[in-house]
Subunit: 638 residues, 2 copies
């Protein structure tokens, strides 16, 4: 099928002629933004003649990526602080026109200048934790892509403000390590595609590149030859891609090599690469996902969520000024519910970025509907101190908002059509963390499906409720991890319980959970006293995260009056009913959408129902078998 | 290292000069057996001159594979019923000489004429459930082997009476399907290597070969074109390998295609292939491992162990006379403890073989020591009726004894040096199922390490006890399956509990086990009344298999007086202590063996200890957490 005929391909840039729009003319600064504006207007008006003029200009008073839109259908002005700002202004106007706005008095600038997508694409064409087909960049050990498709992808990303992408998996093996050597000319051609859209490339590099690619005997960051190798290799990279944003490094993490194995600190490891990047303005993005992945499950002292803070906090000030630590939003690993990482905002003299996941590794794998925006809103809302929230740090202590991509070769980019809403929300919320989930979801539905209230309201409600629904039928109250090992889809309550990964619920016949307060592993002490106190006390600890911090007996009474065990049963039955509700909703709005939007989503909802039933029955059976406590409502448990 | 310098390479055919032996001369029938005798004598005497004559001859009064050895060091006669019998006589004499025998009055004939090893070797060189390196036959999609090594392998197998081998995995994919087409000339060259040793090849074939290789639109066994395709393809195979033993087929099993998916019976599926083999005397070995591997774990009516009987018993008489059903010894899947399959001996008009596993899939994966001979002795001892045991069927209703191979490219063939004892035992017990585990183990130790009692007695005891030790630290009382999914090494009590594989213990806080009596799933009814009654009643059901047939509360009193839960705790602590005992034993006999025998086994014992500790702690913690019942002895449980 021609991709241009596929509803999903166009995502939130649907070709949809809006009758109420006038015809437009363009004037002012010609160039890429001008051309994009012209194409966008044609998409929304069908080339209707008219005389509402849009004037494009650059303004000295705005920062590079900022823009203003002013005027009405009598005449509209877009001014950008630079080429990127002007382009964002164009996309901003188009989105507003698409949603029916007629008067414009807009000033926009991003909260942070680094809004980044990380692709975990492997050079063989597979995508780690990818649920949307194959890689957009690689195939069979080579760089291989559809230039037109990549161009369209760049537009989608730019239209939501993303301005950096890392194209290869953080788990770098020999062939992908070569992206900075042999394969460099091909990478440069990808950079050429993204450049006009204001998007810079990042390359994931192998920490042991000096040995692996350079043939050196060591990759010790304090070795002079190693430092020189990085300098020369990096200079070569910048010859091909002068505007490369930098390198991304996963080191000392899950069997990846790193400085620790050489007796060096994380800072020493990061700095040798940063120094090579420095002359070219490049950044060393250094991931903080460092923990003991060979933990003995019998060990109740080691507590994985404490690891990142323990490794990195003492090194505050040791990192070069072009090292940016990339910190996962939570101390665990992209679970449905986590507290924020105590490392976020905890270092005064170290640059930091926050890593999210748009790809739904633990959140339904683009089979199950899951509104990540709802979770991100909570993450931004998470307190850092008594007077500041995480969103307040964005653009200050948090200089980058990063997410692992959810896109791939599937015609609709994201596998689940509605998972496009997550990508959209990421871009928008990285640009402006004060946006709510409701705001971005409504925007996405309006842009993608239009604003017919018979479709709009039910779909927005369904999407916004989906995170809560998924959470209901998953691991209870923030305990996390009750998933099948390796692939992470579907329930396995003990799947990670006796493993080496540091992920334990320690459920017995009487109680469940890990005490992470000062009486337990002491994770709470890593937070600011205000946050520490909140989590420390069961009275103030939010119930939805209770089992992350506290061990509770099954007869513990929640504020609702339910016992913990009854809460587990109730939520798991409700979760399934709610998914059935999704299906009803979807059927009820079927007539208001194209069949190629309806059908694939319906198929995914059916799969989600099966998954929800499996979660319900496995989790309920597990706890019923373990506790012997019957469901008060006498429902079927196995 | 030169393989000839490796102790393990020679296995039970050690070059060891035995001073007490005289020098020998040879006379009689020259040929392959004569040459093998000459080499063997040189191995044991170092070419010592002398005049004890060994005369080789063929006897008309013996069946083809039978032999006699008579005489003393005044002169020895070996007579074989045929070339194979004579060769077995030669190996028989060499083994007896090696063990110090000086007088000979031996008549030997195999209990059955089919003693078969099945290699689960993949064409990419990997071995499914292989723990001894890579394939001996394949590499990177091609047939590739070391001819000298394969020659030595054939000798090892022939020396223990194995006379058929299937060289490729029963899970056949496109490339290995081609072994009967494009790759046939290469297979024929392998057959040439094994032929002089009296070993015939079997090839695993893909049930859908007519479609896959022949390009037909169907592989429906009742389709005339399909039948013709099999006939022509098989005729071509026999042009290259006139003495091929037959084809092996895994159909309708674990996602393999088969007749059921085409609306045909197992018999119809088998017969179309059998008819093609018939003119050439070939056998269609048809595996009975057919069950629903997509079972809903909530379904308590379906019971996987009933499947083979249910599928095949009603078809008794429908199979052609050159179809041999290949039935796993137990109704589950090579677990540490199972009852025998009720299908064994249950069909009066269908030819049957019994499938064992020498490779230690569920029994320690050649990291842990496990004397399979002990288990096989029990299997042969298992009653079929009140008056017959399984071993009585061998050579009658059971016409083949088959085992999945444990050999690979490792220098010592079997990974764990002591796992050679399992291969040795298999050959010997397939030849003579009345042999005890003690007999074959003693033979193996004597042949491999000699008979110095300081080494011999401790090693024999250690090997013979190893099955009981492994069982102690594994799943209790025959319940099975508490293993990590997919790879099957190490404990995961709930690993298969909520899965689709039909493998459930259904443990709750009060009880564990599946009732398979007439009050439960009714598996017992598939057995002869004598066996049925034994398993039906807890009083007569052997305790070691109790949880296979009965659901028991944890406070159930075993004959020892222990409660079930205390039994679980006790055995799991004992198992670890016993493995520590193995290490002590091994250290105590270290000085009596070559260092290249001592060291690798010591390393495996250390790994086994870790595994036993993991089993102990995971299983005990699981049941302690589930029941809340403390260990009476107050030992550490997590």
């Amino acid at each position: 099928m021609d991709k241009n005929n596929q509803f999903g391909y166009h995502a939130w840039l649907q070709p949809r002629v809006i009758e109420s729009l006038p015809g437009f003319t363009l004037s002012g600064l010609e160039g890429f933004a001008y051309d994009e504006c012209k194409k966008g207007i044609a998409r929304l008006t069908g080339g209707k003649p008219g005389n509402t003029n849009i004037e494009l200009s650059i303004s000295d008073t705005l920062t590079h990526e900022a823009y203003t839109i002013t005027g009405s259908f009598d005449g509209i002005s877009i001014a950008g602080g630079g080429e990127s700002g002007l382009l964002y202004g164009v996309y901003g106007l188009l989105a507003r026109l698409s949603q029916g706005q007629t008067q414009f008095d807009v000033t926009e600038k991003p909260a942070t200048s680094r809004r980044i997508l990380n692709h975990w694409d492997n050079i063989d064409g597979s995508v780690e934790r990818g649920y949307s087909g194959k890689s957009l960049f690689f195939k069979d050990g080579q760089i291989a892509y559809d230039p037109e498709r990549l161009h369209d992808y760049a537009r989608l990303l730019a239209s939501i403000g993303i301005n950096q992408i890392c194209i290869n998996n953080v788990n770098v093996y020999f062939q992908s390590a070569q992206l900075i050597t042999q394969k460099l000319p091909d990478v440069a051609r990808i950079a050429d595609i993204f450049r006009p859209f204001g998007i810079k490339l990042i390359i994931s590099v192998h920490f042991e590149s000096p040995a692996l690619l350079g043939g050196l005997e060591t990759s010790d960051p304090l070795d002079e030859d190693v430092a020189n190798w990085w300098k020369q290799a990096t200079a070569e990279v910048y010859k091909h891609i002068p505007d490369l944003a930098g390198f991304l490094i996963k080191a000392d993490s899950e069997f990846r090599a790193g400085p620790m194995s050489l007796g060096r600190t994380q800072a020493e490891g990061a700095n040798v690469i940063a120094k090579a990047l420095k002359p070219f303005g490049g950044m060393a993005y250094w991931r903080c996902f460092v923990y003991n992945c060979m933990q003995d499950w019998r060990d109740t002292v080691t507590d994985r969520p404490k690891a990142a803070y323990n490794y990195f906090k003492p090194l505050d000030g040791d990192f070069d000024d072009n090292v940016m630590l990339q910190i996962k939003h939570g101390p665990s690993d992209f679970q449905v519910r986590e507290p924020n990482s105590p490392l976020l905002g905890a270092m005064d003299n170290t640059r930091q970025g926050m890593e999210l996941q748009v790809t739904q590794e633990y959140t339904g794998q683009q089979k199950d509907l899951y509104a990540l925006a709802v979770q991100w809103e909570e993450i931004f809302e998470h307190p850092v101190t008594s007077t500041s929230k995480t969103r307040d740090l964005v653009g200050n202590k948090i200089e980058a908002v990063v997410a692992v991509a959810n896109t791939g070769s599937d015609a609709n980019w994201t596998g689940h059509l509605l998972a496009q809403a997550n990508l959209y929300a990421f871009g928008k919320m990285a640009w402006d963390p004060t946006l709510t989930a409701a705001q971005v979801t409504k925007e996405w539905v309006a842009l993608t499906f239009g604003t017919n209230p018979q479709l709009f309201d039910p779909m927005v409600d369904m999407i916004l409720s989906s995170r809560a629904v998924y959470e209901k039928y998953n691991a209870p109250l923030g305990i996390g991890w009750m998933v099948n090992i390796n692939h992470h889809y579907g329930p396995s309550v003990d799947g990670y319980e006796y493993m080496k990964w540091g992920t334990y619920h320690r459920a017995d016949t009487k109680a469940i959970g890990v005490d992470r307060t000062s009486a337990g592993t002491g994770l709470t002490a890593q937070y600011h006293p205000y946050v520490r106190d909140m989590y420390e006390d069961k009275k103030t600890c939010p119930e939805e995260i209770m089992l992350y911090f506290h061990r509770l007996p099954y007869n513990y009474r929640l504020k609702s009056g339910q016992t913990l065990i009854q809460y587990i049963y109730d939520t798991h039955f409700e979760g399934v009913d709610d998914v059935k509700g999704f299906i009803q909703t979807w059927e009820s709005i079927k007539e208001h959408m194209p069949i190629d939007a309806y059908t694939p989503v319906r198929q995914r909802l059916d799969a989600q129902l099966k998954n929800a039933e499996e979660w319900r029955d496995v989790v309920n059976s597990y706890f019923y078998r373990k506790t012997g406590i019957a469901d008060e409502k006498g429902r079927k448990i196995y």
